[in-house]
Subunit: 253 residues, 2 copies
């Protein structure tokens, strides 16, 4: 879905750079700045530094004088702000709102899923103006500790971009290792018999009074969901114990 991030009256160049980086990590690239404090903010050193490689987002970003110009073509507007005290759009948590938005059927009618979504962020110091909130369909409120709701601007962008990307289906998590196969119960039992023999040989287990040692080890290894490779390692340990025991005390002929 077409997605735009709109920063209104942003003061700190670092936040513009960090916003570009946050957007790009979540696969978004449409950034519009409304009347930022610095006209050259897209080229400032701090911006570039905090963007940390998300330079294409900065390069494609637009600077416009009014919010109207930032919203061309966008259908669903999300404020990120407190709802004004008098009236205003409903306040919702991002995750709940996104689930609801995307559960609407696709189609041309007005109750359908929107065709595009814009996220609006106010200035670091003053947040969004009420007049800007009034025109939005929802006021997204990131659930923070009631005693400390002071989210950094770029951190708020990061959280909204993450939740929105997740709602849209998300990116896959890639593992560098393939998940190990699981050893079957017979292999575990054989390994335990090998260990039992070895533990007797090193005088740790007394066959006359075994207590619950082997069942305990069995439970431990069950919880660990051993792989065939780990069975191999554990049998190697048992073998080494047996060999050392044989050297220390050769079996009586």
């Amino acid at each position: 879905m077409k997605t735009r991030f709109v920063l209104i009256h942003t003061s700190h160049a670092g936040n513009v750079g960090a916003t570009a980086r946050a957007m790009k990590t979540m696969g978004f690239d449409d950034l519009v700045l409304v009347a930022p404090r610095w006209a050259n903010v897209l080229n400032r050193e701090e911006t570039i530094q905090r963007a940390s490689g998300a330079l294409d987002v900065l390069k494609n970003a637009r600077i416009v004088p009014t919010l109207d110009e930032a919203l061309d073509g966008m259908t669903h507007l999300c404020a990120t702000a407190m709802t004004p005290r008098d009236f205003g759009p409903p306040t919702r948590a991002p995750r709940d709102h996104f689930a609801q938005l995307l559960s609407a059927p696709e189609g041309p009618d007005a109750a359908a899923r929107p065709e595009s979504v814009a996220f609006l962020f106010g200035s670091e110091r003053f947040g969004m103006q009420n007049d800007d909130v009034y025109r939005c369909h929802v006021a997204l409120s990131i659930p923070t500790d009631p005693c400390f709701g002071s989210l950094n601007l770029a951190a708020a962008v990061q959280l909204i971009a993450y939740d929105w990307r997740q709602a849209l289906g998300g990116f896959a998590v890639q593992s560098a290792t393939s998940p190990p196969a699981q050893a079957d119960a017979a292999a575990v039992a054989a390994m335990l018999r090998h260990w039992e023999e070895a533990l007797v040989a090193v005088d740790f287990l007394d066959p006359a009074a075994p207590k619950k040692l082997m069942p305990r080890l069995n439970q431990l290894f069950n919880r660990a969901s051993l792989s065939p490779e780990e069975i191999h390692i554990l049998r190697g340990v048992a073998k080494a114990m047996l060999q050392k025991a044989a050297v220390a005390e050769p079996p009586k002929a």
Copy 2:
């Protein structure tokens, strides 16, 4: 649940401050730094500035020389890193892992829900060392765009803190306005009759050829889920139209 954030070999003071702020917005306050680049990082100007009021988190933070000392008393260790290529803990998305972790039953046995959780973050430039990842129970991977996975350190802390807080039950979203009551169907119908009369009076609606104007307006207002106050406003508009029409063209006596 007892929760600790551990930053290992952090280079940038700004990230330490932003981490404290990110933690505090999500209601966490236990921060430990393992061998940061700056020994005085907790008191540096950039740290204080980026912490933006989360000074209690900085004040309570500990600096220790080794990871071992940072992990005292913690039971479940979450790396935030790629899984090493050779072997290592399973890689999971934070949201999935947290749901699984908290679905385990409470209790003293080893398969139960952990009593405490530590999140480990490596250095900005090199991430976590393999040896540190190996000792963890899971490698959390925040799902980012495969083409640009470069999350800022404090942004990663913010996302993990948010997902963990949400998994723990979250904070409530507070609305400044109480949700408006919904007008009942009779009130909507009466308002529409008032409007119909007014639209005829201002010569917008031709009673001889009404087309589908009133049903269309009915659908529009249904979608809008009108409140009693809005019914009042709309009836006021109808009344004003009727009054203006009466002045413009007094009814024939």
